[in-house]
Symmetry: C2
Subunit: 231 residues, 2 copies
């Protein structure tokens, strides 16, 4: 398989790159920093969405010479604040860049470089299906990603024939960062990153295992058991 990971140097992205390499897949990492485990790296540059997209598109056109089986966008981040918070604008700007920009560029790359019947995954967040007053910038950015997923799944959305988009809505991933900052939390409700790797592998190798095109797939772990539910 030939795949690309947007956010390939992040916590989840690195796990994915390692996992796919262990299966001998060809992996392109797209991130602000190089991931030496990947076969090729696109290092994101540019201060504006247009600059970043132009740079990524140019690099991908050079490095990705055969169509991709899948592109997984797992870039993201978190920052909070309500509308009166002193960092409201700054944090909202960051959230838009980390969630919307990466998803939009992924959609554009997928439109050009995904195989027919290929897979694009985006990353949303279940709380953002409703209002999220304590993290307004995060909420509106993830809501944009959810709606983008619906648009891409429609006929005429621009993805190659038969390609499928799935938006994952994980609750809390069991990352080193989350272990550090939520040390007293209940680990039986954390989703192991290996679950996401295996799920993406299955969706990539076996298209019949995918959820309906455009699905928002909630990933919930309880008592150390993880379930996928389409919302």
């Amino acid at each position: 398989m030939r795949v690309a990971v947007y956010g390939g140097k992040g916590a989840l992205g690195s796990t994915l790159v390692n996992h796919f390499k262990s299966k001998d897949w060809w992996v392109c990492s797209i991130d602000l920093r190089e991931n030496p485990e990947a076969d090729v790296n696109v290092v994101v540059k540019g201060a504006t969405l247009e600059e970043q997209a132009a740079h990524v598109n140019k690099e991908v056109a050079t490095l990705v010479t055969e169509k991709l089986d899948a592109l997984y966008c797992v870039a993201g981040g978190w920052a909070g604040g309500d509308a009166s918070h002193e960092n409201f604008i700054k944090n909202t700007d960051l959230m838009m860049k980390q969630s919307i920009w990466t998803s939009v560029i992924s959609a554009n790359v997928a439109a050009k470089h995904l195989k027919e019947g290929g897979l694009l995954t985006l990353t949303g967040a279940e709380p953002c299906l409703e209002g999220t007053h304590f993290m307004i910038g995060y909420g509106l950015s993830k809501a944009a990603v959810h709606q983008l997923t619906a648009s891409l799944a429609q006929k005429g959305g621009g993805l190659p024939e038969g390609a499928v988009v799935q938006c994952i809505l994980p609750k809390t991933l069991d990352t080193p960062m989350n272990r550090k900052f939520m040390a007293n939390a209940d680990f039986t409700t954390r989703t192991p990153m290996s679950y996401i790797s295996e799920m993406f592998t299955k969706w990539t190798e076996d298209p019949s295992s995918r959820h309906p095109n455009g699905a928002l797939v909630k990933i919930l772990t309880e008592n150390s058991e993880t379930k996928e539910t389409v919302v």
Copy 2:
């Protein structure tokens, strides 16, 4: 009444400014260009969201010395394209600036300058409650505004005590621009801009006439009759 219109030099914004001035209200216009009809003007400057917000906040802090009864954000625009469109990135960037940036800055200004029990209106779009494959950037931007509305309506969203946010979802306004480019359309299904002016006046003067806090209010005109429906 003391009110501000974000987008006060646009088609709908100019109509609002004129209407409120005809009622002898004090009006602040916030736009890329001055509106000479307004009492005071904040001319938006800056290339980034942070720069624009800092500039608008600074100007508003100087010019708006008493709390506002209402802030109406009617800034916006339209550009289409699916994920494979050559202008997909450019148009998406523009839509984010015109819809998300203006709404986020409006929310921030409202949090600081609205009276208790005041009114904030944002502008969404009904089609964007679902996927919008032929106008992906527009769709995801308006979806972000819808979710922002839900966050702001929650306790702790940052608006002053008792303030209410309403997001209007007009279908097609009867603007000179729309008359020009959709000349053969059925004008009995266009919403007159005077309807919006009157509706905003009513919501501002009589809080009991408002829809529930956080409502997405569909504005639909059929046979020259306009109705408001909360979706």
